[in-house]
Amino acid sequence: MLGEGILKGLAETAKNFAGSYVSKERLTTVQYPEERIPTSESARVFPFLVYDGPDWEAGLRCVACQICEKECPPKCIYIEKSKDKKPDYVGKLQIYPARFDIDVSVCMSCQICVEVCPFEAIKMDVEFELSTDDRFGGLLRNRQHLAKSNEYYHQIHPTEASEVDARLGEEKAKLEAKAKAAAAAAAAKAAAPAAPAAKPAESTPKPAEGTDKQ
């Protein structure tokens, strides 16, 4: 009969209307600033720089290789290389970023910078409340803002962080073994009679090259 569907529809909305006052489960809205849903592990919002150890400046993994700067599709990363070097996590001297800025207003959260970084130095954060009342300075995050500890990384992406740590540990162990072997070889060579002074000096860079390629 004509109009039946309308009556059914009206009954349905009336049920919703009354029901939403009675049962809380019906209401799907999360009252945001007071209530929050925990972010999922795979959430990604904006990149941050990982550092190891207590000091963010000394522990930054980034070696200012500028790959991410080149790969970033909207070109929102700005890097300046340092003039001096600092030791990285295996102890090798590396240059570091004297300036590392990412523009929040331009970044599109594509995660490409993370994918291309060969040093596991840049990762995606889950922090999403990045709005600010200073639309020029406030939206350009410098390296101090961006630096977050490895522990924090473990907190927000536990699975991924452990994988990364395992890989880095493995590589470090491999390098150490290699270095040890090289050192042993060098020692053996040095022990050998009439070795020219140049030889051991030549053999030492080898492990260092290895660190570059990891």
Partner: protein, 391 residues
Amino acid sequence: MIGKADQIFVLLQHWIMGFFPPAWQAVVGILLGVVAILIVFPTLFALSVLLERKGLGRMQNRYGPNRVGPCGILQPVADAVKALIKEDIVPFKADALVHFIAPLVLVVAVFMGFAVLPVGRNMVLVDMDASLLFFFAMGASTELAVFMAGWSSHNKYSLLGAMRAVAQMISYEVPLLMTTVVVVMISGSLSLVKIVEAQNHFSGIFPHWYVFTPWGLAGFVLFLIASMAETNRSPFDLPEGESEIIAGYFTEYSGFKFALFFLGEYVGMLGIAGLGTTLFLGGWAAPFAFLNWVPSWFWFFAKIMLWICFFIWMRGTMPRLRQDQLMNFAWKFMLPMTLINLMVAALWRFVDEAWLRWAVCWIIVIGAYVAMGRMGMRRKRIAPRRYRYAE
């Protein structure tokens, strides 16, 4: 028995008029009435916007606005402030003058209708003999405003919206007028004040509202549908179908002019609800004899707010119609039904036997409804297609 509370506004008006010399009193009285209308109806507009947002939210299992003020009741104020401080953009190619006038014409036309609505006992600004006619004349000028807005914006969406709006409003104006004709036939007057008086009797405790008669009920339902279409309310909100033509005729309006359109639309709704209440639901008459002590204006406003709540409920329930469905419904269902209803009202007027006219009128109304419904819902049978040679 006319209580003090019932006449409080009338007494107030006379009291203020008393301060002026006799020559001015008539003008002052009218001005006071105008001011009252300009205060009361925009307030009701704010209230209905709030009700709408809250109610629609609840129907969709959301909270609705709940941030501004306790439980969000100050939301309309926030909306108004927002509308006022927004930039007013006039498109470069728009006809600036017409673009500017259109919202004003709409609001003025919509408010003019209230001049003849009796909002309570002795509470009508102008007691015209042909007030029903006046109301419709004013209501029809809103179409002009809508078309002015759509045409002057120089935007294809606006123009499409305006064309849809005009087509829809003109088509539904016919059944809207025809449904009111039955009331005029029975009450024998075009004056809204007289129409309310005619309904303000009681048998026992029950009132003699026109909606409780067969022709009245049919007329009421038809009027309800037509009024929804006339005010471009969902499910008849094609003129501003957001998903197709952005916002229809007010696509190019922003800031305060948009707010005026918004106001016009809601006040138009209140106006047509007021007219429907007056015609079918007894206007300011109390629903039961023993409730006669409650002020008459209270009943009027309670009834129109109920009407608005129903509009909101419909909006929360129904999807938007398609243009062809809209037109088919107007011309193939609404118009024949109103014509049959005219006949029923005539029978009612001239058959004297009480039981006979009740029976006959009910049978005709229900029979016509069922038959028309059947016809309207009949579809072409679509069987799966058979390919004779391709198999």
